[in-house]
């Protein structure tokens, strides 16, 4: 029996083959244990791969235009920040300015969800509305407080909701989600949600809740971070 080529198995997984090309491969996989095992091995490699960080050499480096943009923004923001501090406190203060928490809360009195990104040198928190490129890996951190379950989900600009999983909460305090998320190439707003509940929610209930406006789900706290993909 002729086996499916390694490349064809990859293309099948990536959804790159049309129905005409896929049909004989599906039939072969149903009958050939060796090829089914090779496909399963590719799935395992993929699962381990997505959990590993992107090597620093492959992460995008800022162009001279972007560096210039950051410098311009700093030059504009510094006097604004200084003026703001002067108005609020009456006198200028020394040291680092207070930074707004990188989270947007829909409910509750403390930060519940943070999004972090890995840069070439280190990791840093993202701010609501921050612009990111596709391919950027985002690490979510949540504080479940007294709740027993945390459901992590996302919604893109087209309104597509993905539920990444429901985790057992480990109690109060900031906890890093056990997986990172890679931004795809859909442009526009990308929201990430942490839904904190005491019972495990059904995935379709989460889907429905996140498609509503305003977002509502009984007996839950919902935190979100909204980023912009460009």
């Amino acid at each position: 029996m002729t086996h499916i080529s390694t490349l064809k198995l990859h293309q099948l997984r990536y959804g790159e083959l049309d129905a005409h090309a896929r049909a004989p491969l599906d039939a072969h996989l149903a009958a050939c244990a060796a090829c089914a095992a090779r496909l399963s091995h590719q799935d395992d490699t993929r699962a381990a791969f997505v959990r590993a960080p992107v090597p620093a050499a492959i992460l995008p480096r800022p162009t001279w235009w972007e560096r210039l943009g950051a410098l311009r923004a700093a030059l504009v923001l510094l006097p604004v920040l200084a003026a703001g501090l002067f108005v609020l406190r009456g006198v200028p203060t020394m040291g680092a300015p207070t930074v707004e928490a990188p989270t947007e809360r829909l409910k509750g009195g403390r930060p519940l969800l943070e999004a972090w990104v890995q840069t070439a040198d280190s990791a840093r928190p993202l701010y609501t509305g921050e612009r990111l490129r596709s391919g950027t890996r985002v690490q979510l951190k949540y504080d479940a407080g007294p709740h027993r379950f945390v459901t992590i989900a996302g919604r893109d600009a087209r309104g597509t909701v993905e539920v990444y999983g429901t985790l057992h909460a480990t109690g109060p305090g900031l906890t890093t989600a056990p997986f990172a998320l890679t931004l795809d190439d859909t442009k526009g707003e990308q929201a990430f949600f942490a839904i904190l509940t005491d019972t495990r929610p059904a995935p379709d209930a989460v889907q429905r809740a996140l498609k509503q406006s305003p977002i509502r789900m009984e007996d839950s706290e919902i935190a979100s971070v909204v980023l912009l993909k460009e």
Binding site: T2, H3, I4, S5, T6, L7, L9, H10, Q11, Y14, E16, R38, L39, H41, Q42, T45, R46, F49, V50, V54, P55, A57, I58, L59, P60, T63, W64, W65, E66, R133, S134, G135, T136, R137, T182, D185
Partner: protein, 173 residues
């Protein structure tokens, strides 16, 4: 508006989508996990050099598979020229493979190839025996005819006639 210096070839996005394909490829052909990881980075950094031909390709997966194969075979050839370099085996966790041949057979095949065959024949044999591609599929990826691939594979088989390896009988009884 396109910003000056902006790069439409988003290598990080390609890595996130196809990195597992390249990693699997490198693990199959190279015998060392660290070497495989290095080769993955080399493949994606090479995309800068091949950007024009990359844009002409209909399938990024095919293009990356090809570059990964070339990169690995070049590494093996360099290693062959410097046999004093120690080669660490892959850990058992990655001993499994998604190729048609098992890892021991791949190693045997590569060693036989490097001993006697030219580079184009090496490419043909790896795609055909390790990856299970048909002659025409190999021809498509290398830009030669299926008949030319068949001829090169026949030449390789003829070189094995005196002492055919067991894996050959398994896949071509």
């Amino acid at each position: 508006m396109t910003r000056p210096g902006a790069d439409p070839l988003d290598i990080t996005a390609l890595y996130c989508r196809y990195g597992d394909l390249v990693l699997g490829r490198c693990r199959t052909l190279l015998r060392n996990e660290a070497d495989a990881q290095d080769a993955v980075q080399e493949v994606f950094l090479k995309l800068h050099r091949y950007r024009d031909s990359f844009r002409g390709e209909s399938s990024p997966s095919t293009f990356l598979f090809k570059i990964a194969t070339t990169t690995c075979l070049n590494r093996i050839r360099t290693r062959k020229r410097r046999p004093e370099d120690p080669v660490e085996e892959l850990p058992p966790a990655v001993e499994a493979t998604d190729s048609v041949l098992d890892r021991l057979a791949v190693r045997d095949l590569v060693e036989r190839l490097l001993a006697k065959q030219d580079e184009r024949t090496q490419d043909c044999v790896v795609y055909h025996y390790v990856d299970g591609m048909t002659h025409d599929e190999v021809g498509d990826i290398l830009g030669i005819s299926g008949a030319a691939v068949r001829k090169r594979i026949s030449t390789f088989r003829a070189s094995l006639r005196d002492a055919p390896p067991p894996w050959l009988a398994e896949i071509e009884p």
